[in-house]
């Protein structure tokens, strides 16, 4: 993955607009957060292989960036995006990695389903 280059990322997001695409969206503090830090309120969410069709997608702000997708009847967004990659299968993978190298957020789009 590379650090987000806004123009390149925007072009990549645009290329998925108006198509049925598979979504992976994840936020996480890690399953050990309240083990190492008792009392920590651990929250996260995970969606994988839900099909969406967005009409407008935008990458906004300085790094870490925010990325939002406007759907005909709804929204998808992620904040904390630092890195991106179009992988060998043509999937757009966005991730937010903290200073210690741990993933905190991921937003991914693919025209074919992600693995299980």
């Amino acid at each position: 993955m590379e650090l987000v280059e806004v123009n390149q990322l925007q072009a990549a997001i645009d290329s998925f607009a108006g198509k049925d695409v598979y979504l992976h969206l994840e936020t996480t503090n890690g399953s050990y957060a309240s083990h190492f830090n008792e009392g920590f309120f651990n929250a996260g969410a995970f969606i994988r292989n839900v099909v969406i069709n967005f009409e407008l997608g935008k990458v906004v702000g300085d790094s870490p960036h925010r990325v939002g997708l406007k759907l005909p009847q709804g929204w998808v967004y992620a904040q904390g995006i630092t890195h991106f990659e179009i992988d060998e299968e043509g999937r757009l993978l966005l991730a937010g990695h903290d200073g210690t190298g741990k993933l905190a957020v991921a937003l991914q789009l693919s025209e074919t389903p992600f693995s299980y």
């Binding site: 992976h24 994840e26 996480t28 050990y32 999937r91 991730a95 990695h97 190298g101 993933l103 693995s115």
Partner: protein, 226 residues
Amino acid sequence: MTIPKERHVLVIFPHPDDEAFGVSGTITTHIQQGTPVTYACLTLGEMGRNLGNPPFATRESLPAIRKKELLASAEAMGLTDLRMMGLRDKTIEFEDDEKMVRMMEELIEETNPSLIITFYPDFAVHPDHEATARAVVRAVRRMDDRPKLHCVAFANNTLDVLGEPDVVYDIKPVREHKMNSMKAHISQTAWMLEEMEHKLQNGDTETENWLTMERFYAYRWDQDFE
């Protein structure tokens, strides 16, 4: 405490690297004593958070990396019967409970173990660890002739509630194998190993202890978790 010879040992954990920290010394010792060992690893740790910064992997490339690491860990322990069970990291507790019990029953029926090693329910911290432990305990509970069930517990309240572990093995003779098993999972253990080296150099006895002893609780059927 010396490690007794078993008919067959069945180890069941959800993530590649779960075996390395807690039991790789014990697994290695059983194998060196000629006891057949089966390790069923339920997921490939697909949701691991250590991806580096700069990243060395993506959410999508991580499973293949961790699969290779798991195979390397098995090799470090001399383990030849490794089962990858195909579930997804962080989803085990949401699977059908009875399906999970059946998965464990099938493993038990096939391998006929005299000892099963897994996590201790309610003292295993990670939801996947807990779900694995519950499924194993439920499967063993239904058996007429139960094998020994040794459980790894590391929740912060373990000592307060369970007391000192009742099964403690000296694994010094296979210390290098344990090190190599942990090193095999380098994508997830690099920072931890670095910290460990540092502590060892400073003569930290707790860390040294951790590399020379492995600790289990025999499951307490008279205080069953449910």
